[in-house]
């Protein structure tokens, strides 16, 4: 009994210590003025790595999800003769929930895991230690551009996801299922609110970007510098950031759209 209690205590302390280390990492990486010695090239390179490379999976998944949403929505709505509300249903689902969340999950799987593996590998091959020796803070040179790249890329990816998903829904709903294009768009435009839906979606995507990149970078730095350590850290990145995204989505939804 006491051993279990002790184990619980130790786990609790470990978790708290992990949060502490992650917080310190974030603070140290983002604190302080930008260091132009490294130039904007690092941020650009990371935007390329994190953003552009994730684009394919985001676009393909977006189109498919939009198409599925339209198909499913249509089969339900047509029973009430309300298929003209398809655009409204699809766009609200995407803008408020599905867009940011699915994009963040894909982002965690594509970019987050890659970030963790890359940083873990830099640690294993002593590149981080070499930076320390040369007099560069790895948190500044490695963590900072990656954090910013993730934070900037995620809202862009989520909006691209929303756009292609809605276009996918148009392709299925309007072109295939013959929902009237006029009522599709006008219903959508009448029900979607700029601040409430579009802006809140962007805020969500931004928050998810911070969390996913933060977890990915931290797990990379915290990884055991061994092949097993890196692979566990990569798995942890995907699992933790997915959970964090879903939990945060609930919180943010409660705050944004919750009961007044």
């Amino acid at each position: 009994m006491l051993t279990y209690l002790q184990q619980l205590g130790r786990t609790g302390l470990d978790v708290a210590a992990g949060f502490g280390r992650a917080g310190i990492l974030l603070a140290q990486a983002l604190w302080g003025p930008p260091d132009w010695r490294y130039g904007p090239g690092l941020l650009l390179r990371q935007l390329h790595f994190v953003g552009v490379y994730s684009l394919v999976i985001i676009v393909v998944s977006g189109v498919l999800i939009g198409m599925v949403l339209a198909l499913q929505g249509y089969t339900v709505l047509v029973r009430f003769g309300a298929e003209s509300a398809l655009g409204q249903m699809v766009s609200l689902t995407l803008l408020r929930e599905l867009g940011p969340v699915v994009a963040a999950l894909l982002f965690a799987g594509r970019a987050g895991s890659a970030l963790t593996a890359e940083i873990g590998l830099m640690k294993a091959t002593e590149q981080l230690a070499a930076m320390e020796m040369i007099g560069v803070d790895p948190l500044r040179r490695v963590a900072r551009p990656r954090l910013w790249a993730g934070i900037l890329a995620m809202p862009i990816l989520a909006q691209v996801f929303n756009m292609v998903a809605i276009l996918g829904a148009v392709a299925v709903g309007v072109s295939w299922l013959d929902v009237d294009a006029g009522s599709f768009w006008s219903n959508m435009q009448a029900s979607v609110q700029l601040r409430e839906d579009v802006l809140n979606g962007v805020i969500k995507a931004f928050a998810f970007g911070v969390v996913v990149t933060w977890i990915a970078v931290f797990e990379g730095f915290d990884a055991d510098p061994t092949p097993e350590g890196i692979s566990t850290a990569t798995t942890r990145t995907v699992v933790y950031s997915s959970l964090a995204v879903l939990a945060m989505d609930f919180l943010l939804t409660a705050i944004m759209f919750g009961v007044d």
Binding site: S91, N162, Q193, L194
Partner: protein
Amino acid sequence: MQSRNIEISVGAFILLGIVAISFLVIQISGLSFEDARRDTYKLSAQFNTVAGLTPRAKVMVAGVSIGRVTAIHIDPISVRAVVDMAIDKKADYLTTDSIASIKTAGVLGEQYVSIAVGGSEDILKEGDTIKDTQSAMILEDLIGKFVTNFSDKK
């Protein structure tokens, strides 16, 4: 050369983001630049009840959208609902004897303001009020009436 390619692709990426957000803002949420240019004029109408009508609801003539509801408030004197509408300047054919009514698009659809244009020569101008109105049908009231009529006849 490699860094040039990176710059180009990141530039394209950011451009794509801008395209996506503008697509969402303009096409999806319906914030057209026409709204921004404010080439609309204001009309209002008083209803006994607006049940379910919301700001940004459409204003239609013969099923064609000509404007939007901008605000809904209570007139403290008559204690009726006042609906303010922004009407497209191009819609300069609304006569003073037009009838405004609140209707529902389909059974489950959203509510909108429908304006039936009358035969008068006088045209409504900025700030005018449509006097002739029909309030929203409230399903519960209808059912209630139906039930009482039914039991009276018995």
